[in-house]
């Protein structure tokens, strides 16, 4: 009970931090491996991978929030969880540069 309730208010941001590291690592690895040079139609393989990953991160964050709030936010701790997890979803805005910005130096 204790661990789960505490985890519930952090899960969104843990997901955001994990997503951040995953995207940064994928971008760096993709550049090292030359995936930016492989074109898949109008965009590179690396960009497609990063966009798919970003969408997946946002979906996972939404799922975390919905799951954490499935019984309704009745207690103060649950309300804090909903606020924190919703903020984490909005913070996924940080990743939108994968759509148009230069991927590799």
């Amino acid at each position: 009970m204790s661990g789960r309730a505490l985890f519930g208010i952090l899960i969104g941001w843990i997901g955001w931090a994990g997503g951040f590291l995953l995207l940064y690592a994928l971008q760096a690895t993709g550049c090292r491996a030359g995936w930016d040079g492989h074109l898949l139609g109008p965009i590179s393989a690396l960009r497609l991978l990063l966009i798919i990953t970003t969408v997946a991160i946002v979906l996972v964050l939404i799922w975390f929030t919905v799951k954490a709030n499935r019984h309704g936010s009745t207690s103060s701790l649950e309300r804090i969880g909903v606020l924190a997890n919703s903020a984490a979803i909005l913070a996924a805005l940080c990743f939108t540069g994968v759509i148009w910005l230069q991927l590799c130096a």
């Binding site: 009970m1 204790s2 661990g3 309730a5 505490l6 208010i9 952090l10 941001w13 843990i14 955001w16 931090a17 951040f20 995207l23 940064y24 971008q27 760096a28 690895t29 550049c31 090292r32 990063l50 207690s75 103060s76 701790l77 309300r79 804090i80 606020l83 924190a84 903020a87 984490a88 913070a91 805005l93 940080c94 990743f95 939108t96 540069g97 994968v98 910005l101 230069q102 991927l103 590799c104 130096a105």
Partner: protein, 833 residues
């Protein structure tokens, strides 16, 4: 015959003081009490603040005029480096650690922190480490490569003296206290609260400190790792940062700023916690948006870790990666703004009482908001490229840190000093001191924005007359001296408060938090009995509660066997779970800190062969700490008052030390993850990869070690369920085998490790595993001894429980360490024969 409440309160006071008090004279060196240690932290931090301030004045004197000959370039480099080091590492964090140690048990309705001896050990490490750094300055061998100690400037090629070693060893020594404080605060806030105080009934300051302690737990290990790797390069030639041998100077920047940016928030958030406590009291209204403020602090904590490259925009990182960090930097303004609006709303809806703390809160609002705005400017990559490494950045960071830390600290000092001294301010000097600091600060640093925008770089000791920076620099220097005079007046004012302040009865601010429900200055035991909390703990009535608790009508309102007793609760609900019995005062924290300091000193003087002996002494001293711990027979549940009976903490599944181990392993895992990240970063980014020759791998020893670790973890688990000596003997033997096998590998590859960063990375990862296996061996032998001496039973299995956690962690990290060379070889596929 029943005693009157006053007589029973006096009797209880005498009994509790005999148990919890610290003796005078040499006995004060045994102190472990949170009130004593908290005050020592704060006082020592203020001494370092004064030293840092004097260094700042030297800097301003040097820069006041063009081509100044006041300091030569080498001395100036030591002075500005030490100014940053002292203010960041020796003043800001330790001051709020001390404040948290002093306040948290009192605000949470407890009698002490979870691990008082660890607090004392942390304090001594801090004092010795700080003295070590300042002593180096006096001796003229202080660090001189900037407070961030960038490589390659700090590598042995360009900094051949001991200056950089002083930084690396001194800071690592000091950071032991930060990590121990983080674990201490996390466990204390989560487990040691008054019965009934659920998480959401906690005073807001406890939320802030809980989150900050979590940040420290994750933020400091990368810095400690970076320091170890750089010292290993300087001392033994392992080329982690040397680009000619597969290293990369940028690895240092990543590791340093992984710590360094969260550090800014680690400094700001406790100050914000103090503001969130003081503002509602002075506004005579509860904090607006308690829940949204907690959510904002959580958001800020995580965002602060997503900003580290914010300091590295100019090193050549691709645009998309810059965008992640730039957007996160900008976003950090949102949760900060949420808090500022919550404070403004509280003031707007309340009836603010104009007072000295309120004056400093005004100073905070003005200065910090300006600093935040320039922070948003610097978060934008194109602007940062223009202003990078100029005095604009220096001005910004001072607006953020002085605004976000020093003004709140002064507000907190004026607010809580009556609690510490039992006297109220006379306030003859307080207003003049504030205005001198406020005006002096803005003169100094507003002008510095302009010098920066006119192109003046950081860290230069002189500048030519034709640069056109002299007038602005002169204004900055004059402002600096005005500000310093203001701080001197504050020091005098506080001294006057301590000596001539007006005594008061209780709760001079009419606050609603528990620290005011006790006599002031506070007794060593804090509360004679512990309260039951049924409302939010910042809206209580300390004037009514105080006498009730003093007369022993709360929980634990009587002494038992001379034990130092407190109540442990469920982390979320605050339901009482256990009676936690704390260990007594002892000289061991001091002796252990001296031994720890001798280890660092031996490394500094390059007596490497002797350093392991110091480590063995440290280990032996830590083992001596356990003499007072444990029970030799099972106890029934203990009466705690109000008809409640609770088990002794040794007879529960999750006592405070269980959680301390969980959090320590979390910090440890962060360090290991940072090490793996560093190695993979080198593969991705460093020049001169792959290495020219094959990386040596000994599959046989890897298999032997892996099997030994699996056996150790398996039998460690078996020992937990069966509590048999045989299982523990097998654990010890398995660890010994793994130690021999991996020790052999280390010896085999140590010469190769200086050749290329790939091998150095393998060496570092395996050394990490060896260290953990060694600790596992010690732990298994300790558990063996405890079982044989009768400390372990079905109900008393804490030692084995902690051992099981360690064995599992060592197995996990050990297997990764064993697989690591294969992964590196695979990644560096181009390695030729």
């Amino acid at each position: 015959m029943t005693q009157s409440p006053r007589k029973s309160a006096l009797r209880l006071h005498r009994e509790l003081t005999a148990i919890w008090g610290t003796p005078p004279g040499w006995g004060c060196l045994q102190a472990v009490n949170h009130t004593v240690i908290g005050k020592r932290f704060m006082m020592t931090a203020l001494v370092f603040f004064a030293i840092g301030g004097i260094l700042a004045m030297l800097i301003r004197t040097q820069l006041a005029t063009t081509q100044s000959a006041f300091l030569d370039a080498a001395s100036y480099a030591q002075v500005f480096t030490m100014h940053g080091v002292v203010m960041m590492f020796l003043f800001a964090i330790p001051f709020f650690e001390g404040l948290a140690m002093y306040l948290l048990p009192k605000m949470l309705g407890s009698r002490d922190l979870a691990f008082p001896r660890m607090s004392a050990y942390g304090y001594w490490c801090y004092l010795f480490g700080g003295t070590f750094l300042v002593g180096a300055l006096v001796a003229g061998v202080a660090p001189d490569g900037g407070w961030f100690m960038y490589t390659p400037l700090s590598s042995s090629t360009y900094s051949p003296g001991v200056n950089a070693d002083v930084w690396l060893l001194g800071i690592t020594f000091v950071e032991i206290s930060a990590l121990s404080a983080a674990v201490e605060i996390l466990v204390s806030v989560l487990k040691l609260r008054a019965p009934g105080m659920s998480l959401t009934r906690m005073p807001i300051f406890a939320w802030y400190m809980l989150i900050v302690a979590g940040m420290m737990l994750i933020g400091f290990p990368p810095l400690i790792l970076g320091s170890i790797l750089l010292e290993a390069e300087r001392a033994f030639g392992l080329p982690f940062f040397d680009p000619t041998r597969g290293g990369d100077p940028l690895l240092w920047q990543h590791l340093f700023w992984l710590f360094g940016h969260p550090e800014v928030y680690i400094i700001f958030l406790p100050a914000a916690g103090a503001l969130s406590t003081i503002i509602p009291t002075l506004a005579r209204r509860p904090l607006e948006g308690y829940e949204i403020v907690v959510a904002a602090v959580i958001a800020l904590a995580f965002l602060s870790f997503g900003l580290w490259v914010h300091h590295m925009y100019t090193v050549g990182i691709p645009h998309v990666a810059l965008s992640f960090f730039s957007a996160a930097s900008g976003l950090a303004a949102v949760p900060t703004g949420v808090q500022i609006f919550a404070w403004l709303a509280t003031l707007a809806h309340g009836k603010p009482r104009m007072s000295v703390p309120m004056l400093h809160i005004f100073g905070f609002m003005f200065v910090f908001v300006l600093g935040g705005l320039t922070g948003v400017m610097l978060a934008m990559v194109p602007f940062d490229w223009q202003a990078h490494d100029t005095h604009f950045v220096v001005a910004h960071l001072h607006y953020v840190l002085v605004g976000g830390f020093v003004f709140p600290m002064l507000a907190a000092a004026y607010y809580w000093l009556p609690h510490i001294f039992g006297r109220q301010a006379v306030q003859h000097l307080s207003h003049a001191a504030f205005w001198m600091i406020f005006i002096g600060f803005n003169l100094t640093f507003f002008a510095m924005h302009l010098t920066g925008l006119r192109g003046m770089p950081r860290r230069i000791s002189t500048y030519p007359p034709e640069a056109g920076w002299e007038t602005l620099n002169f204004v900055s220097s004059m402002g600096g001296f005005i500000m310093t005079t203001g701080f001197a007046l504050v020091a005098l004012d506080l001294l006057l408060l301590a000596v001539f302040g007006k005594p008061f009865r209780r709760n001079p601010w009419r606050a609603g938090t528990l620290e005011w429900a006790m006599p002031t200055p506070p007794p060593a035991y804090a509360f004679a009995s512990l309260p039951e909390i049924s409302a939010r703990a910042d809206q209580l009535d300390p004037d009514r509660l105080g006498p009730v608790l003093a007369s022993g009508q709360g929980y634990l309102g009587a002494t038992r066997h001379g034990w130092m007793e407190i109540i442990g609760v469920d982390m979320v609900t605050g339901k009482p779970e256990q009676v936690v019995v704390l260990p007594k005062r002892t000289y061991l924290p001091l002796l252990t800190a001296i031994a720890t300091g001798s280890f660092f000193a031996l490394i500094l003087v390059k007596l490497y062969w002797l350093a392991p002996l110091a480590l063995l002494i440290v280990t032996a001293l830590f083992l001596l700490w356990t003499r007072d711990c444990g029970l030799k027979s099972d106890l029934g549940d203990l009466a705690v008052g109000h008809g409640t009976h609770l088990p002794h903490h040794y007879q529960t599944a999750q006592p405070p030390s269980y959680w301390a181990m969980v959090f320590t392993l979390a910090a440890d895992a962060t360090l290991f993850a940072s090490l793996l990240f560093g190695s993979l970063f080198l593969w991705l980014s460093a020049p001169n990869w792959p290495p020219e020759s094959v990386i040596p791998i000994d599959a046989t020893t890897s298999v032997i070690s892996a099997v030994a670790l699996i056996v150790a973890a398996g039998f460690g688990r078996g020992a937990f369920t069966s509590r048999t000596v045989g299982n523990l003997c097998i654990v010890a033997v398995a660890y010994a085998v793994a130690l021999l096998a991996l020790g052999y590998v280390l010896i085999e590859i140590h010469a190769e490790a200086t050749r290329h960063a790939a091998v150095a990375s393998i060496f570092a990862v395996k050394a990490y595993a060896v260290l953990h296996i060694f600790v596992g061996l010690i732990l298994s032998l300790f558990c063996l001894w405890r079982v044989r001496r009768g400390y372990v039973s079905v109900r008393r299995d804490l030692d084995l429980r902690l051992g099981r956690q360690w064995h599992l962690f060592t197995l996990t990290t050990g297997v990764i360490a064993l697989a690591f060379p294969f992964v590196i070889n695979l990644l560096a596929g181009g390695a030729g024969p």
